[in-house]
């Protein structure tokens, strides 16, 4: 029989089951394999691109050319060459190190930053695991990354590494607080923890992006971005690997492929936190251009058949990837522009400034709709395009499949 794509199939698993060629449980297994392969692809691909971008941008900022030779004109295969070089190096474990923990630490970092990508929607419905508490699970999984870094610092049996690990622990535990509060602010505005739903909510003009919803969400984006940069241990917050004081911090004793695992995870989690920022504040996969989004929303959220839906989602994926990459480039730009802070300055920035600021923003974001309701509105200005004013959707939540419009698409578990 000829495998066909059923119109009703919304997930890879249901598509495979529709073919009726696989044994029982085989469809689930194969769908899981496809999901894992795609997510692993999105773990490696952005990392490769951003490693090249980092070298190129840093080179230009320092009045150098950066990589020019590998892979043609712009050296765009540099990341692959780096990888090839690192695989060949010897896998060293120092005599004083705690061997098993030293070996396992990079895997903890990689697995947690890979697992976080499972809950990130790349376009409407293009998500490996769609959960109502997707953002919460994502933050939970991302918080595991610090364990790997601390274990690496501790198990190296070196003072530099120990200091790096301790700094990382102190920094991460503190910066999680303002970051979590800033993440809650768009959730309060959107009324959902489902990342797909939050993204779908911001269709229409760029004025519908949660960033421009009220002044508090506007400032919250910048506070979130600072905390996200710190949580990826990027400069000016890279105290854990401050090479001017600590040799290389927790990375001191690592070499070869285990060393590169840490960096793969770092670039992937840069992409992840920027993806969260795009979904929560910058309109997700919507272009924000008046007219264009209205044209795309038709096939994207229902009518238009499978092919047009897929094409619209592919374009949405490009938009999402472009926005997230732009934010990553800002992180790279910041890294090569600002000097590193001292550890006490890092802690002071978080505990004395970012935490109070985010608390005030949170209170403001909660009070904002109440203050607006006095004037008889639910949003400031009229939402342009397809976006509806946020209302209490208790009715739609009790019958999720009968709601028309964008929100009906949010329960799908399709992957690209």
């Amino acid at each position: 029989m000829i495998p066909t794509l059923a119109e009703t199939a919304t997930t890879i698993q249901s598509t495979l089951e529709g073919w009726n060629v696989l044994p029982e449980g085989g469809a689930m297994f194969l769908a899981a394999v496809i999901h894992v392969a795609l997510v692993a692809g999105f773990f490696g691909l952005p990392a490769g691109i951003f490693i090249w971008a980092e070298r190129k941008v840093s080179g230009r900022i320092q009045d150098r050319l950066g990589p020019t030779r590998v892979g043609g004109k712009f050296g765009w295969l540099q990341a692959l060459a780096d990888g090839g070089k690192l695989v060949q190096k010897e896998d060293l474990v120092p005599a004083d190190a705690d061997g098993p923990l030293f070996r396992v630490a990079p895997y903890v970092v990689v697995v947690s930053s890979l697992a976080a990508l499972m809950f990130l929607p790349f376009s409407d419905g293009w998500i490996a695991v769609s959960l109502d508490i997707g953002l919460y699970v994502m933050l939970a999984v991302m918080s595991l990354e610090v364990i790997g870094v601390i274990l690496a610092g501790y198990a190296s049996g070196s003072k530099w590494a120990l200091f790096g690990g301790m700094r990382e622990a102190a920094q991460m535990v503190s910066y999680e607080i303002p970051m979590s509060i800033c993440v809650v602010i768009p959730i309060v505005t959107a009324g959902s923890l489902n990342l797909n739903e939050i993204g779908a909510m911001q269709s229409g003009w760029f004025g519908n992006w949660i960033l421009l919803n009220d002044p508090f969400t506007f400032i919250a984006f910048f506070v979130y971005f600072v905390c996200a940069t710190a949580s990826c241990k990027r400069a000016p917050f890279d105290l854990a690997e401050a090479e001017s004081e600590l040799v290389a911090g927790f990375l001191t004793e690592y070499s070869g492929f285990r060393w590169s695992f840490f960096f793969l995870a770092e670039y992937a989690s840069m992409f992840t936190v920027c993806g969260i920022a795009v979904l929560l504040f910058l309109g997700g996969w919507h272009t924000g251009i008046p007219g264009l989004d209205g044209l795309l929303d038709g096939p994207r959220y229902g009518s238009g058949g499978f092919v047009f839906n897929w094409l619209a989602n592919l374009l949405g994926f490009g938009v999402f990837f472009g926005k997230a990459s732009l934010l990553v480039c800002v992180q790279i730009w910041i890294r090569w522009t600002l000097p590193r802070l001292r550890i006490d300055q890092v802690m002071m920035t978080c505990l004395k400034y970012l935490v109070p600021i985010s608390c005030v923003l949170f209170l403001g974001a909660v009070i904002w709709p109440l203050a607006l309701s006095v004037t008889g509105r639910t949003t400031w200005g009229d939402p342009a395009g397809n976006r509806a004013a946020p209302t209490l959707r208790l009715e739609s939540s009790t019958t999720p499949n009968s709601t028309p419009g964008p929100l009906a698409a949010s329960n799908r578990e399709t992957a690209p």
């Binding site: 297994f29 699970v137 918080s143 595991l144 501790y154 301790m166 578990e413």
Partner: protein, 199 residues
């Protein structure tokens, strides 16, 4: 089939991690096997569809408590890799308590008549069929009990919800945190007399 395989993988990891915590002597290795144990328990929760409990387990215990544990060891350890030495008496006492507790659990599990079918029929919450089981928790928090037993007296089913108790508990925790920070704060030194003693 797939779910059973995953169950056994997570169950063995959870049990093995727990045994590792008891057997290993290096504190950080113990902490790591605790991470494996608690993380696999979170995996088991994901497997039965309890997303919220699983995510909270990861966030609070694995990502929070254990990080603080390892951080504490790093801050206080005098040597490079600190070990815990146990005397024979302590081992015997611990083993006795552990075996007693284990036998209590085993006998409880054996005593239950699993085949009797004593599951009560409950209404499903919207979202259950797509694996989004956390909606019931959210609705329950604001007083909408969607999973109330079918056929029970609806008058007993109050509409108050758990939001107020939840808020009271969280404010209580905040007060405890502020109190702990107040007690542990760096004391201001007296300007003249005792500066040398405190230093």
């Amino acid at each position: 089939m797939t779910e059973q395989t995953l169950f056994w993988i997570f169950a063995i990891l959870a049990g093995g991690g727990a045994i590792g915590v008891v057997i290993l002597q290096d504190i950080v290795r113990m902490a790591f096997s605790l991470i494996i144990s608690l993380g696999s328990t979170a995996g088991l929760f994901f497997l039965v569809g309890a997303d919220f409990v699983a995510a909270t387990q990861l966030l609070v215990y694995v990502g929070g408590t254990l990080v603080l544990l390892i951080f504490g060891v790093m801050l206080t350890a005098s040597g490079p890799f600190q070990r815990i030495k146990m005397s024979a008496g302590e081992t015997f006492l611990g083993a006795a308590v552990g075996l007693l507790f284990f036998s209590v659990i085993v006998f409880t599990v054996i005593d239950v008549n699993w085949a009797a079918g004593n599951n009560r029929q409950v209404a499903t919450t919207p979202g259950d069929e797509t694996g989004n089981t956390s909606r019931a928790i959210g609705l329950r928090l604001v007083g909408i009990a969607a999973d109330t037993n079918i056929g029970m007296d609806t008058k007993k089913n109050s509409r108050t919800g758990y939001l107020l108790p939840f808020e009271i508990v969280s404010v209580h925790l905040l007060v405890v945190l502020v109190g702990a920070a107040y007690l542990a704060r760096a004391k201001r030194q007296e300007p003249s007399q005792s500066s040398e003693e405190n230093a």
